[in-house]
Point group: D2
Chain length 145, copies 4
């Protein structure tokens, strides 16, 4: 499967209702990689005293880019992907500004896909959270031989 940007834009921005609530915008998609923007808005705040974005917003974005990176490995329309587990390390509280979240395939197997994710404001040198996702995949081509 190629990874036409329009298709992934639709998946990230339109197809999934909870993504629309948060307001994710696709930045980039390549084989094994997807990045998105979380445009800052006050509704995303998780700690009003620190004015930092809710950890749950970041977890949602990480699951989104990890899953979408997994989708770049699919070859067939009926191939399916679901999240087995998700882990997020919160390195720094984050600020009241836009966040970028990137997902990269670590290993894509026939049954399981491992991904890593990062979130940062301005520079990938200053990561505020890191994540790992494990996805179960059903590949039609693999099953049918």
């Amino acid at each position: 499967m190629e990874a036409p940007k329009e298709l992934f834009q639709n998946i990230i921005e339109e197809f999934i209702p909870f993504h629309k609530v948060i307001g994710f915008k696709l930045i980039d998609v390549r084989e094994n990689f997807v990045s998105l923007l979380i445009p800052y808005k006050p509704e995303l705040i998780g700690d009003p005293r620190r004015r930092s974005i809710h950890g749950g917003v970041i977890a949602t974005a990480m699951d989104a880019v990890g899953g979408a990176a997994g989708i770049t490995t699919l070859k067939h329309y009926d191939d399916k992907l679901s999240t087995i587990d998700l882990r997020v390390d919160y390195l720094s509280p984050g600020l009241a500004k836009d966040l970028i979240c990137e997902g990269t395939i670590v290993k894509s197997g026939n049954k399981v896909i491992f991904t890593r994710m990062i979130a940062y404001h301005d520079s990938p040198e200053n990561i505020i959270a890191e994540g790992r996702g494990v996805y179960s995949v059903s590949r039609v081509s693999h099953t049918k031989g």
Copy 2:
């Protein structure tokens, strides 16, 4: 600190903007335990084909009840809590209906609090997701002796 239900209702339902977006409702609070309701609404869907609630909604709820359970152990207004890491195992896809999420303290130390969380629709016998949260805590009484 006692755990007056009104205080926790305010924390869970009103104080945190992203919780209001999702619509969390406090169910119960006791020492070392907090539960909340995620009332179903179509905006929470993560997979329109399966009509299941987004894993990010569940992760957000787990961080909320884990953190709130941690808050029940605080003794002083200036004690602070922040999430170190969060892990969620997605056991079943879940349905398009209300979810309950419970958080329980596993161990409350002077610097670190460990919690476990579960999410289910109708019965805690049929868990659809389990989580673990680790929180950093600053206890005024501990630091100042």
Copy 3:
């Protein structure tokens, strides 16, 4: 597959060379559950100042009982199991004495098995570490129909 104690005793105590190095002893096996004993010996120490058992010994025991609990769900000789991921929360440092480690199936699916594990010295009320394991399973009966 039944879970004859002799078979699991062989798996836990004899078949796996690294288990023999540590000295695991099977305590109990039932459907979806396996427990083992880590008899204390000085070679297992991880922190000589505290004289506590190495976290790696506990992680090894958790993978062992989680995997063995998974094996109790297998129906066919050719069914296979392998660890996808393992997570351990170290709640307390532990003492220089025998440890018990228990593994329980949380969910056994056709492709993925989720387990939880605990480790304690004397009483399951005083847990010193908790774990979660996710295992990939290949079930002959499932694949071949």
Copy 4:
């Protein structure tokens, strides 16, 4: 604290009894980074059919290099470090040969240190397992001002 190789060689190879059982050898130590060798020997096998090294050996090595990387950030003899949690993703089964395990600091805070770890046979391009460790740290200088 500088990171004299002899000191870390002693910690990794001699001071910790369970490391001696496995046979870890320090490869390198720099600020925020420690690597070690797990010399292959048959006692480390976890799956005799595949002849792969036990996942518990890898988990032990990851905790060792993550903790040792954390120690490179300590400034005072009485500073202390303990493992909060450890997570390992097993990407590939591994072979019956030497393994290298590397630990790198992701973030070193005043109370918590985050690390990432990798394990590979010959090339860091072919990782067989990845890990994350979170450590609690007590810094004398920080507490005493």
